[in-house]
């Protein structure tokens, strides 16, 4: 009878590691909920009352002496810049947290081994550790991007806000969703390598800073540049409100060379056979190609970091 009672009759219910992840990282979950709530609230304020007041102030006719648009416009600009700064800074926070609290501290305390000596394999443990925050981050950042786009499309104050401003560009599309995931993967990898909370924190920070810098530098070059050419009199001829790339001089043969005459006299261009100037730029119509290629690049690096983390863990454990 006892053997009947203990014999498994069906495939046992699998462990629910995701619930343990939520239980263990409740402070981070609360922080994330507050973060999303705060940024959403500020964006909605800027879209509603803040934006209406700013638009009204902007339309107010100038007096003879001065054009005082009042604080309403300042608050409006401050509101979205604040949100953009938080959205841009989020990946750094995620990398710090993933390197230390999520992974590094667990390995340092031996609590990772406690989890692995329950019925969860190290690989499934890491999967839950990454999947739960990734899902919550994606949900939150998607909401913030949608709200930011709503605000940007309304554009209640016509001046002072450009699609190509770095924070604005990021927060208007999937790049803002992808970067926190990269931070998560790199932080986790750093935590796994470091085996310590503090070292994982520093490693996550450095890895994330390096990767985001390199991707930020490479990103605009992955989409073919438009080239604006001006003659000697016009000088550089990129339109305004664009993403700027390289620039230089054009010779009579049509070659693009670095401008040898910066600050030199008027005779210099002729001496170097220079007939005009070129500038590379991305117009606003390139918004989606730029967003999508950079997002793809970020996600590719994220996938590599994740694969490295799983490989490392599999080699260490049985």
């Amino acid at each position: 009878m006892t053997t009947l009672a203990t014999a498994p009759t069906a495939r046992p219910r699998p462990a629910r590691a995701w619930r343990a992840v939520v239980r263990l990282h409740r402070p981070a979950l609360v922080f994330w909920a507050l973060f999303v709530a705060l940024v959403s609230a500020v964006l909605l304020w800027a879209y509603g009352p803040g934006g209406n007041a700013a638009a009204a102030a902007w339309r107010r006719p100038c007096t003879v002496d001065l054009c005082d648009v009042g604080y309403a416009v300042d608050f409006y600009h401050l509101a979205y810049r604040f949100c953009e700064a938080l959205i841009t800074f989020l990946p750094v926070l995620v990398a710090l947290w993933a390197g230390s609290m999520l992974i590094g501290r667990e390995l340092e305390n031996g609590t990772a081994e406690l989890a692995w000596s329950q019925s969860v394999s190290p690989a499934r443990w890491l999967l839950a550790k990454l999947a739960v925050p990734a899902a919550l981050l994606t949900a939150g950042t998607t909401l913030l991007v949608l709200l930011h786009r709503l605000l940007f499309d309304a554009h209640q104050v016509p001046k002072g806000w450009n699609w190509s401003d770095s924070g604005t560009f990021e927060a208007n599309g999937p790049i803002a969703v992808a970067y926190p995931l990269l931070g998560l993967a790199l932080g986790a990898l750093a935590g796994l390598i470091a085996h310590r909370a503090v070292r994982g924190l520093i490693g996550g920070l450095l890895a994330n800073a390096t990767a985001t810098t390199l991707i930020g530098l490479a990103g605009p070059h992955l989409v073919p540049w438009r080239i604006g050419v001006g003659d000697l009199k016009e000088g550089y001829a990129a339109p305004s409100g664009v993403v700027h790339g390289g620039e230089g001089a054009v010779t009579s043969a049509g070659a693009h060379i670095p401008d040898p005459c910066t600050g030199a006299g008027k005779a210099c261009p002729a001496a170097h056979d220079i007939v005009g100037y070129y500038s590379e730029y991305h117009p606003s119509s390139q918004f989606w190609p730029l967003q999508l290629t950079e997002t793809a690049l970020i996600l590719a690096v994220t996938a590599l970091a994740t694969a490295a983390a799983f490989t490392l863990l599999r080699r260490r454990t049985s």
Binding site: T6, P12, R13, P14, A15, R16, A17, R19, A20, R23, L24, N109, G110, T111, E113, L114, A115, W116, S117, Q118, S119, V120, S121, R315, R316, T317, S318
Partner: protein, 293 residues
């Protein structure tokens, strides 16, 4: 006995780092199921490494280890392991820790077992793990380990930070588990006395190798402590240790032939046996037949 082995190791080795020393090397033994096994040996002998390998927390550098008939990782659901420093999540309460145990296990998990183990220790489920004493932490860690209803229970230095009363209670808990469910229990310690009364099987690990493996009774019966004149030749037997003081020779041997009638002989205690092997690293390895992998 031909039943399944709880643990079986062949040419097992583990080294940390590519150039690090070997924590374990050339380990071969077989632990039959249903035993209560003491893993003894000096500090740094490789006991913890051996248990972590069996728990599937480390990958062997060479050789093989089989647990309950399969890869250690595949037996995870049926094996419990309590690490030496009893890691627990300090930010959780006792009750939350037990709920986490339920999350991290399949429906083999028996919440009533965990609750009973915790309640028997007069632990308030609402107290924070951070606030517990060493003995209370051990109890919570054991509650997690027992509620899995394991077939194999691996305990690394389980008694190290317990006072004598708590030690006695804990041992009672474990022995009840072994008796009720037939769980194989493997406990390590560098203090033999802690385990001597409760265990029926011994694994002596020293210098990264298994020096003795077998049922304690059989091991004791296989050895003799002899006192004989100093000029006695013991070549007919396997000599673990021999010392000459004055005209007297005292030795611990594994007799391979009948002993001379004029020798004084006796059965060694387990402690004498273990110490003789530890003092004499050149002494041959002893394994009873059922423990040969």
């Amino acid at each position: 006995m031909t039943g399944t082995a709880a643990i079986e190791a062949a040419a097992l080795g583990k080294r940390f780092g590519r150039r690090g020393g070997w924590a374990l090397r050339d380990c071969a033994f077989r632990l039959p199921a249903g035993r209560v096994c003491a893993v003894v040996g000096p500090n740094g002998a490789g006991k913890s490494t051996l248990l972590a390998l069996a728990a599937g927390l480390l990958a062997p550098s060479e050789g093989e280890i089989t647990v309950l008939g399969g890869r250690p990782g595949a037996a995870r659901e049926r094996v419990s392991y309590v690490a030496q420093d009893k890691p627990l999540y300090p930010q959780l309460t006792v009750a939350e820790t037990l709920r986490m145990g339920a999350d991290l296990n399949t429906d083999r998990w028996d919440a009533s077992v965990a609750e009973r183990v915790v309640a028997d220790g007069d632990l308030n489920p609402k107290s924070n793990i951070r606030a517990l004493s060493g003995g209370q932490r051990t109890r919570v860690a054991l509650a997690l380990a027992l509620a899995k209803r394991p077939e194999l229970l691996l305990l690394d230095e389980p008694m190290a930070d317990l006072d004598p009363l708590a030690r006695h209670q804990m041992m009672g808990l474990l022995m009840a588990q072994a008796a009720e469910s037939g769980t194989t229990i493997v406990m390590s310690s560098h203090v033999l006395a802690e385990l001597e009364d409760s265990c029926d099987h011994l694994l002596l690990v020293d210098g990264g190798q298994v020096r003795i493996a077998g049922e304690i009774d059989e091991l004791l019966a296989a050895h003799r402590r002899v006192s004989a004149p100093a000029d006695t030749v013991l070549d007919a037997h396997t000599v673990v240790e021999s010392r000459t003081t004055g005209r007297q020779l005292t030795a611990l041997i594994r007799p391979l032939a009948p002993l001379a009638a004029d020798w004084q002989t006796g059965t060694p205690t387990l402690e004498e046996l273990v110490l003789s092997y530890l003092r004499n690293p050149q002494a041959p390895t002893t394994k009873t037949p059922e423990t040969v992998a």
